[in-house]
């Protein structure tokens, strides 16, 4: 197994642990920042299709095992985020450090909106309409702001872990 894969797996496990044990306690306006969604997008942005989807599926399953929402919804969101990340990575968007300053916040906002809507649509597919509650707007807003801030930092972190550089 390559250094890249080992780093990816270990970092993803840490991200799931942080999501479950830290972010659920430190809510912003009552909203949990869904770092695992952003993480799967970044993994897709910087990796190939197969490892990205494997990591996304694993992260989603691990998280869904601890969530009270129908099993599989976060798996679906993580897979979609990773796939979109891979497609955008192939278009050359993975090098955020060398891109225009507005690109990473814009991508972060797009990921937050897209991931939340994917989650809700997945819930609709499994006939759970209760997910469309009044707090959807605040969930999208808080995650959009958080993702806009975190995207570049998390990308740098993943590069540092998988490529061993600072």
């Amino acid at each position: 197994m390559s250094r890249h894969s080992v780093g990816l797996i270990l970092a993803s496990l840490v991200v799931v642990a942080v999501q479950l044990d830290v972010l659920t306690r430190f809510r912003i306006a009552g909203v949990v920042v869904m770092l695992i969604w952003l993480w799967c997008f970044i993994v897709g942005l910087l990796s190939d299709l197969v490892p990205s989807l494997l990591v996304a599926a694993s992260v989603g399953v691990l998280f869904d095992m601890h969530a009270a929402t129908p099993f599989g919804l976060d798996v679906a969101v993580c897979l979609v985020c990773a796939y979109v990340g891979v497609r955008l990575g192939r278009e050359g968007l993975g090098d955020l450090a060398g891109s225009a300053p507005w690109l990473s916040p814009l991508l972060g906002i797009a990921v937050a909106v897209g991931a939340t809507l994917t989650f809700l649509l997945s819930g609709t597919v499994v006939a759970d309409l209760s997910l469309w509650s009044n707090s959807v707007g605040s969930v999208i807003f808080v995650n959009a702001v958080a993702f806009a801030v975190l995207l570049r930092v998390a990308t740098w972190g993943l590069r540092a872990v998988t490529e061993g550089r600072r």
Binding site: L20, V32, A68, T69, G123, S130, S138
Partner: protein, 231 residues
């Protein structure tokens, strides 16, 4: 002699203090550090005492829940909140090994908090009454009108709809569990208090916005009511 003595003292005493300060500077610094450490320890202890008093108050409240009646209960500590934005749940430190089963009522802080939806041997997940998938059969008034109270997601008020216009419900009135046949919850547990009413002209029913009777955001300890509906 007195004015002279006073003048000498007025001049000599500060000078003496300065010399004493210079000579004893290191011991003063050491003493100051010790005092600061002591103050820090006392502040920590005061904080711990306040936290312990709060815990004690919550546990005492749980000991005197009049609405639980004679049903056996298990005191549990809340060890986690909801992991996602789309479910209002909490995790407690008691599970199947303590007699906790799915569907059991969880009470505390003045009323119904939710019901158990998932158990492991030593933990259980509680769905709060504010969860969008939560529905509790409640009753109110002298005529014991029964209706359904639904959650609308965390941080949102609960709603009661389809209340017949013949039923009189007032703002501030408390809704309690009905305990009707088939209900998973025992009767007479306070669930929510009416906050506002919405009546459309000519309608045959109306709805109410209610707030939970229990303080769901400040809950560290809860009681699981080990009550099962009669078969």
């Amino acid at each position: 002699m007195k004015p002279f003595s006073w003048t000498v003292n007025a001049i000599a005493t500060p000078i003496g203090h300065v010399f004493a300060g210079v000579v004893n500077y290191s011991s003063v610094v050491h003493q100051n550090q010790e005092l600061e450490t002591e103050v820090g320890a006392l502040r920590t202890q005061a904080g711990e005492n306040a936290a312990a008093a709060q815990t004690l108050a919550q546990l005492e409240t749980l000991l005197h829940l009049p609405f639980v009646g004679t049903a056996p209960t298990v005191v549990a500590q809340v060890v986690g909140g909801a992991t996602t934005n789309f479910a209002a749940t909490m995790t407690i430190d008691k599970g199947a090994a303590n007699g906790v089963m799915n569907g059991m009522a969880v009470v505390g802080n003045g009323g119904l908090i939710g019901s158990v939806i998932q158990t492991t041997p030593h933990n259980a997940v509680v769905r709060l009454i504010t969860d969008a998938n939560s529905a509790v059969v409640v009753t109110f008034g002298a005529q014991s009108v029964t209706t359904l109270l639904s959650g609308r997601g965390a941080n949102n008020a609960l709603t009661v709809s389809n209340i017949p216009v013949t039923a009189s419900l007032k703002v501030g009135e408390t809704l309690v569990t009905s305990g009707a046949a088939g209900s998973e919850l025992p009767s007479d547990i306070p669930v929510a208090t009416v906050k506002s009413l919405a009546i459309a002209p000519g309608a045959t029913s109306y709805s109410a916005t209610v707030t939970p009777a229990a303080n769901l955001s400040q809950t560290s300890y809860v009681d699981v009511v080990l009550w099962e509906p009669a078969a």
